[in-house]
């Protein structure tokens, strides 16, 4: 699918553009691709497979909601900082895009969203604001911990393929979903790199802070799978 994108893009009218890489999430954000089968229909799968898909998308959507609100909380405190403010804004914008795609995936596959979305919002905001009040490095450390857990979570889903192997690749939405997860994993790991570059390791009690935040994220993931 990505090869087809590049092929089409390469044959575009303006010859001055040499290569345009087509992101998998463009299928969800570009309104002209609304009617494609991979974006508008859900595969006909067994109840067990449906349950797996359901849980996966529910947790991912909850994670993106929480990430959005964590950045919102951090921005509320550190938004005016000349060095860190634009950085947080940029990472937050990417998370907004992720959430938009996740919302569309949820509607496409008729997945029940998590009951805990309000809890995710409140705790995310509180976590973001609290770590931002502790300092710039602490905010970066919080980002580092959260993005580590989320990156690992997406990576497990994608590389182990324990769950996704059970889903049939015959319907175009499943390979598209794999590509989207891969793209989001790469984005989250990029955020992790940015956080480390900006001295997250210098945060006070870095090990303790990371452990607490990472532990909280793992508990949240387990809860959102069920609720």
């Amino acid at each position: 699918m990505l090869a087809r994108c590049r092929f089409l893009a390469a044959n575009a009218l303006r010859p001055s553009i040499r290569t345009i890489t087509c992101r998998a999430s463009d299928f969800y954000t570009d309104p002209s691709k609304n009617q494609e089968l991979g974006v508008s229909t859900s595969p006909d799968i067994s109840p067990k497979q449906r349950e797996i898909l359901d849980r996966a998308l529910r947790v991912d959507q909850a994670g993106e909601i929480a990430a959005n609100w964590i950045y919102r909380g951090q921005f509320a405190v550190l938004g005016r900082d000349p060095r860190v403010g634009p950085l947080i804004q940029e990472m937050w914008d990417q998370e907004k895009l992720h959430l938009e795609v996740m919302d569309k995936l949820q509607l496409q596959h008729e997945v029940r969203p998590t009951l805990l979305s309000d809890v995710a919002k409140v705790t995310g905001y509180a976590l973001g604001a609290a770590t931002a009040l502790m300092g710039k490095e602490a905010a970066m450390a919080c980002t580092e911990a959260v993005e580590t857990v989320i990156g690992e979570h997406y990576d497990d889903k994608f590389s182990q393929l324990k769950d996704f192997e059970l889903l049939p690749s015959s319907h175009p939405s499943i390979p598209l979903l794999r590509d989207v997860i891969k793209e989001f994993r790469d984005d989250e790991l990029e955020h992790l790199d940015i956080a480390v570059e900006h001295h997250s390791q210098r945060a006070p009690a870095h090990a303790l802070l990371s452990a607490v935040v990472a532990g909280g994220c793992k508990v949240a993931i387990e809860l959102c799978k069920r609720f």
Binding site: I65, P113, D118
Partner: protein, 217 residues
């Protein structure tokens, strides 16, 4: 549920109109098979395939409810609003209307519940209303997200249950009753939204006052 019993259940559904949600309907379903049997199924076979006593009737009720949900999805067209979807579902009740009170009584008298606690079990009926409202919300694409997803479904399931109960006693006025309920719910929803908006104005103005008073600096 074996393939045979699933097939027989499917064939028993058109017989519900004439025979009700009974073991008789299940045993007569064998006569509708592609290679029909000479006689209807004996009682022992019905017990073996579908369960003893009222369990078999309950299986038939569940199958009928699942089938009407499936038909809801299949017969849905693009332009249907929430009211149209629910009215279509109520309409599919009409052929078996006289047997429905018995069906609900069967659902409510589940043998699993210990009698001293509660004589009737409301859970299967609430589950039925929740499933209908879930299907209706997906068909009508009511764009509710996150927490409002749940409140919308709860409201629609309550409205649907009330309309269905109304239909059992007075089938002719049920669609109008459904419309009035949906309208009331919409009014209530709008009232809540406007209250929330006003409350946000009040909150913002107080926040501005506190900031400008210099207390926080």
């Amino acid at each position: 549920m074996t393939a045979t019993s699933a097939k027989l259940l499917k064939l028993a559904l058109p017989l519900v109109k004439a025979h009700g949600f009974t073991r008789e309907a299940l045993s007569l379903s064998a006569l509708s098979l592609p290679t029909p049997l000479a006689n209807p199924l004996p009682d022992a076979s019905v017990t073996a395939l579908f369960g003893p006593g009222n369990d078999a009737c309950r299986t038939l009720v569940h199958a009928w409810l699942d089938d009407s949900r499936r038909r809801m999805k299949e017969e849905a067209t693009e332009k249907m609003g929430m009211g149209d979807v629910l009215k279509a579902r109520l309409k599919s009740n009409e052929p078996v209307l006289e047997h429905l009170p018995e069906a609900f009584a069967l659902l409510a008298s589940s043998p699993l519940l210990p009698l001293p606690l509660l004589p009737v079990d409301p859970a299967p009926i609430i589950k039925h209303a929740a499933q209908v409202s879930n299907q209706a919300c997906w068909i009508a694409r009511s764009d509710a997200q996150e927490s409002s997803w749940y409140t919308r479904r709860a409201t629609i399931s309550a409205i649907y249950l009330a309309a269905e109960l109304h239909q059992l006693t007075s089938p002719k006025t049920a669609p109008a009753f459904l419309d009035s309920l949906l309208e009331n719910a919409e009014h209530a929803g709008k009232a809540l939204d406007e209250t929330a908006l006003f409350a946000s104005y009040v909150w913002k103005s107080w926040r501005g006052i506190v900031r400008s008073s210099g207390v926080l600096v």
